[in-house]
Amino acid sequence: MGGESDMARPGRYTVRDDSTSTAVEILADGRVRVGGDGGGGEPMTVTPLCDGRYAVSDGHVTTHVRVTGPPDARFVSVGGQAARLEVEPEGVAPRRKPRAGAGETSAPMPATVIDIAVEIGQHVEAGAVLLKLEAMKMELPIRAPRDGTVSAIRCRIGELVQPGVPLVELA
């Protein structure tokens, strides 16, 4: 199959979780070295199974890993424990939009808007409560990340909002 030779094409990637960034290299023989630049561990053999499962062997121990999810957020699971990773090929601009800004006035988890404390045109100081959310029976205040004027309110009271979407815009 044409794809097999392509699989073994060498390449470098960066894998990120919340706190760390790891260089990963696909070698000419198709094995994968984690740590990169010669400083990594022994190359590992990664065998695809079905349904996004991979058998990863370091020559001694084989670990079964499941991978799924959209390209900008790969979810992996091993031994019943799941995590989220981002993968970037070297030399390719990050597909993911920078998080800064977007999250500032967004919900940390899916939540219901229970109070909107500001109006369009109102000047707010950093730290002022813009709105209140409720999730899991907890009240979560969303505060202004900086001084500014409210230019748009992108939610209504009673609305279920998703994380990552700005709820109030400041000019």
Binding site: M1, G2, G3, E4, D6, M7, G11, Y13, V15, D17, T20, T22, V24, I26, V32, V34, G35, G41, M44, V46, P48, C50, D51, G52, Y54, V56, D58, T63, H64, V65, R66, V67, T68, G69, P70, P71, R74, F75, V76, S77, V78, G79, G80, Q81, A82, A83, L85, V87, P89, M109, P110, A111, T112, A135, M136, L160, P163
Partner: protein, 496 residues
């Protein structure tokens, strides 16, 4: 005969009830809130009816809307599942008055067990053991000391009027009694303006052992043995099993008989559970009535596994007026079953419930493993309802084999997209206390609280797999076909 059943619930229990109906040739009606319009239970049913907005009060808790749904869809029976309106006597009565079969006990039995104090008195009168205790009418020191001796040590002296630990004293032996009475009385008087004291045996490190019962409309009642639900966190059951590692055959029989007596005392019908506190082990163990749950339990599959019966089918038969499908002599426990409740919650962050989309869902397929679930890949876990994702039940020849089977199945249960308690369940199963069968209801909040920490992930293996997956996925997009399809790009049938 039930022809068309409305399931007044959602999630895994709705799906499980509908499966029983499919096998019995009963048509099913699902009801749903706006948050659940694409949920698995809606598609599992033949008919579906919208109740209202996501809030439970406007949907699954609305008696008026449920009765309307039954009328409009031509249902002749309602199964309440568990939670929501399952133990609401007014709902059972409203169903009866609307000419619908309520798959559960009569409203009178629900009401009789609804009040803890009344239930305790009813059970005491029927000769079912309760935690020894009393409020002596004579509140003199001498009378209280006599009452304390009747209850036994260790014991609690507490304010009859109050709660919250005010005016409560633990008394380990007689020498502490006089001081405790004086102190508790003083505190009770200043906190509640009433110095009346109540004395009660303190059950230390109790196990929670409950008996499944089933009764029909013809005066027959049987028990289906016990479930041990001692593995709890803040009074929420986490792991349940049957048989209990703490029961001898003779205590088991005494508890079963007591549970049947309890059911008959309140004119019970249909499935119910009598919960007991168990103190001690072996022949020395003592059990005390805690409360009766007048519904099907979350953990009913544990009983189904060891007895080989279908409790939901039996519920439907009994509700339709048929006699019990089995006699007591026909019921046996075979092997050992363990249920693990899988929740979308983060044990490392004080079990904070998680909401979000389940991106990948791969339940294990193994002999002796049953998964009851109300979700699939693409399902949304919302903030509106209970965050339970699935129940995993492992059944094997022995307790050790059942633990090993549950362990293996959990380790290959991949739920991707949100954090679950699966790693926590694995650590509980691996803990010395659980393996020895020595858990008590306070274990996970006390000695076992360190099991909540997140274990380290094999970071290198994960990075290697995700890069290999990335390569396959990007190759997939080019002219060359991928060695294996990426499940994310083959989204047929997914609701995105």
């Amino acid at each position: 005969m039930i022809r068309r059943l409305l399931v007044a619930n959602r999630g895994e229990i709705a799906v499980r009830i509908m499966r029983a109906c499919d096998e019995l040739g009963i048509e099913t009606v699902a009801v749903y809130s706006d948050a659940d319009k694409d949920a698995l239970h809606v598609r599992a049913a033949r008919h579906a009816y919208r109740l209202g907005p996501a809030t439970a009060a406007e949907s699954y808790l609305s008696i008026a809307r449920l009765l309307e749904a039954a009328r409009e869809t031509g249902a002749d029976a309602i199964h309440p599942g568990y939670g929501f309106l399952a133990e609401n006597a007014a709902f059972a009565r409203a169903c009866r008055e609307a000419g619908l079969i309520f798959v559960g006990p009569p409203p009178e039995a629900i009401a009789a067990m609804g009040s803890k104090i009344a239930a305790r008195q009813t059970m005491q009168a029927a000769g079912v053991p309760v935690v020894p205790g009393e409020t002596p009418t004579d509140q003199s020191d001498a009378a209280l000391i006599a009452a304390a001796h009747r209850a036994g040590f260790p014991m609690l002296v507490k304010a009859s009027a109050g709660g919250g630990g005010k005016g409560m004293r633990v008394v380990r032996d007689e020498s502490e009694l006089a001081t405790a009475i004086a102190g508790a009385r003083h505190e009770a008087t200043s906190a509640f303006g009433d110095g009346t004291l109540y004395v009660e045996r303190l059950v230390e490190r109790p196990r929670h052992v409950e008996i499944q019962i089933m009764a029909d409309a013809h005066g027959h009642a049987v028990h289906l043995f016990e479930r041990d639900c001692s593995t709890q966190r803040r009074h929420q059951k986490v792991i349940e099993e049957s048989p209990s590692p703490a029961l001898t055959a003779s205590i088991r029989k005494q508890m079963g008989d007591a549970a049947v007596k309890a059911a008959l005392a309140v004119g019970y019908q249909n499935a119910g559970t009598v919960e007991f506190l168990l103190e001690g082990t072996g022949e020395e163990a003592r059990f005390y009535f805690l409360e009766m749950n007048t519904r099907l339990q979350v953990e009913h599959p544990v009983t189904e596994a060891v007895t080989g019966v279908d409790l939901v089918k039996a519920q439907l038969a009994v509700a339709a007026g048929e006699p019990l499908p089995w006699s007591q002599d026909e019921l046996h426990q075979r092997g050992h079953a363990i249920e693990c409740r899988i929740y979308a919650e983060d044990p490392a962050r004080d079990f904070l419930p998680q909401a979000g989309r389940i991106v990948g869902y791969y339940p294990p397929v193994r002999p002796g493993v049953r998964i009851d679930s109300g979700v699939e890949a693409g399902s949304e876990v919302t903030v509106h309802y209970d965050p339970m994702v699935a129940k995993l039940v492992a059944h094997a020849e022995s307790r050790d084999a059942a633990i090993a089977r549950a362990r293996a199945a959990l380790a290959e249960f991949d739920v991707l997209g949100l954090v679950t308690n699966i790693p926590f369940l694995l650590r509980v199963l691996d803990s010395e206390a659980f393996r020895r069968g020595q858990l008590h209801t306070g274990f996970l909040d006390g000695e076992g609280s360190d099991l909540c920490a997140s274990p380290a992930l094999p970071a290198a293996a994960l990075a290697a797999a995700v890069v290999r997956h990335e390569r396959a996925a990007t190759t997939n997009g080019s002219s060359a076909p991928a060695a294996r399809p990426d499940p994310w790009t083959t989204i047929d049938g997914w609701r995105v």
